[in-house]
């Protein structure tokens, strides 16, 4: 996607979380998490089911409000302004319109000029290899194609941060490879990647650092190599041991 990303002067990163908790039904889903996410390294959030990975990501992205604690971007978001972060969900949600119109819709919300939307949307589709399906109705595309379309929609917005919530969990291996390639390309174009996954192989391939969550707590944070070779926490050791046979 040749042209330079449209960057506002000040980066929204780092993102700082201070003692963030999210309580639902009396149970802490995310429990007093403090951390800072900087521009650059690809951050992978790992943890067993119910560890609070998705909720933590939604808190960061602003889809949920923390029960207590503070979440602060270096450049705070103001309502009505273009969002400088995007998210790709496990199951892509597409509007009942063509593939390209879905990307154009997102660009419209981001305040892109009407005359430029079509061209930007087409460029985004090309970069995920969907240009030939541009006019096809988004909802009749296959699961893998829809997820690539979701990535194109997010990428078209040139976000500074892209959150990915298990983007390949419901895809077959072939489609997963393609999605991983696109995530890599988005990162190479300068976007910070924050992703949660169940797949340890994927975490190794796509990650620079690991945030390991267990029962809502941030149990460990380490560079990928160190996390897998010499995990410091007992929880992480048990998790890696338990998960490895299936990766």
């Amino acid at each position: 996607m040749g042209d330079e990303p449209m960057r506002a002067p000040v980066s929204i990163l780092p993102l700082r979380l201070e003692e963030v908790s999210f309580i639902a039904g009396g149970r802490p889903i995310v429990d007093r998490v403090s951390l800072e996410l900087e521009a650059g390294p690809r951050t992978i959030i790992l943890g067993p089911n119910g560890a609070g990975k998705s909720v933590l990501m939604r808190l960061c992205h602003g889809l949920l409000a923390p029960t207590s604690g503070r979440i602060e971007w270096a450049a705070p978001e103001r309502p009505g302004e273009r969002r400088r972060q995007a998210m790709v969900f496990q199951r892509p949600v597409m509007l009942r319109r063509s593939a390209i119109a879905n990307v154009e819709y997102a660009l419209g919300l981001a305040g892109a000029l009407a005359v430029e939307r079509a061209q930007q949307a087409r460029a985004a589709l090309e970069s995920v290899g969907l240009a030939h399906l541009a006019e096809r109705s988004a909802r009749v595309l296959s699961g893998g194609e829809q997820q690539r379309l979701a990535l194109a929609r997010a990428w078209a917005l040139r976000p500074e941060v892209l959150f990915l919530d298990e983007p390949t969990a419901s895809l077959d291996p072939g489609a997963s490879v393609e999605v991983e390639r696109i995530i890599q390309a988005i990162r190479d174009a300068g976007t910070k990647i924050v992703m949660c996954t169940h797949n340890l192989g994927q975490a190794r391939r796509l990650g620079d650092e690991i945030l390991f969550l267990n029962q809502g707590r941030l149990a460990e944070r380490a560079p990928v190599e160190r996390f897998f070779n010499a995990p410091a926490s007992a929880e992480a050791q048990a998790f890696i041991k338990g998960e490895l046979p299936w990766t």
Partner: protein, 234 residues
């Protein structure tokens, strides 16, 4: 059997000749029911959508009541509107009883819960699916609502057609508040009731055939619309 065949033949003749009396009755029926649908839709879609996306105490009770009101008996609606519009009633001074306007009011009340309840369900399902994605993309609530309603327009149209079918086919409400006055408030259903009791089976049958055809067409249109939309947009 003889009588029925005779009546059928005469009914066919009436329809083929576009009998003025028949045309007038069908015309008034459509006018009343379509007006009611327009009014009810204008009120019910925002109402259903608002219930779908808002959280408030007693929401479930409201939904249960709304769903139950879908089966509101037309005669009861007629009775209530009659009481409101009758001379001694609170709105009696407006002199609306036994006018087409009164019939429109009654049918609007009758089908408003149907359209609102169906719309509520459709919007709620879609909202559950789209909410996070739309908010993630930065859509404010107004914009999100418009996107949502446009995206499920075919489901909403089906709800509206269901309301129209109900309005066109009911007899109790229009009979009570309209009074079935010849040339003023006589519609298909009330005419069928009257002509049958008078023994004029030809007109009754002719109107019956038109009414059933109309309801059939409405349902077929609703079905095909949804099918086509499903195929086209998934």
């Amino acid at each position: 059997m003889e009588t029925i065949l005779h009546a059928l033949r005469d009914a066919g003749r009436l329809m083929a000749a576009l009998d003025p009396k028949l045309v007038e009755i069908v015309g008034l029926s459509l006018k009343v029911s379509l007006s009611a649908v327009v009014l009810a839709t204008a009120l019910a879609l925002p109402l259903g959508a608002a219930i779908a996306v808002s959280k408030f105490r007693g929401r479930q009770t409201v939904i249960v009541i709304l769903n139950a009101l879908m089966g509101l008996p037309p005669v009861v609606v007629g009775l209530i509107v009659y009481l409101l519009l009758s001379r001694a009633g609170p709105l009696g001074a407006m002199g609306l009883l036994f006018t087409p306007t009164a019939m429109v009011i009654a049918q609007t009340i009758l089908i408003l819960p149907i359209i609102a309840a169906l719309a509520r369900q459709a919007v709620e399902d879609a909202w559950r699916e789209y909410q996070e994605q739309l908010r993630s993309l930065g859509a404010g609530s107004g914009r999100a609502a418009l996107t949502l309603v446009w995206d499920i327009r075919f489901s909403l149209l089906t709800a509206v057609l269901a309301g129209l079918g109900r309005a066109a086919a009911e007899v109790g409400a229009v009979m009570i508040v309209g009074g079935n006055i010849d040339g003023v408030t006589r519609v298909m259903t009330t005419a069928i009731a009257l002509e049958t009791s008078k023994g004029d089976l030809a007109l009754a049958l002719g109107l019956g055939i038109i009414l059933v055809t109309l309801v059939l067409l409405l349902n077929a249109a609703a079905y095909m619309l949804k099918e086509a939309a499903q195929r086209r947009y998934g």
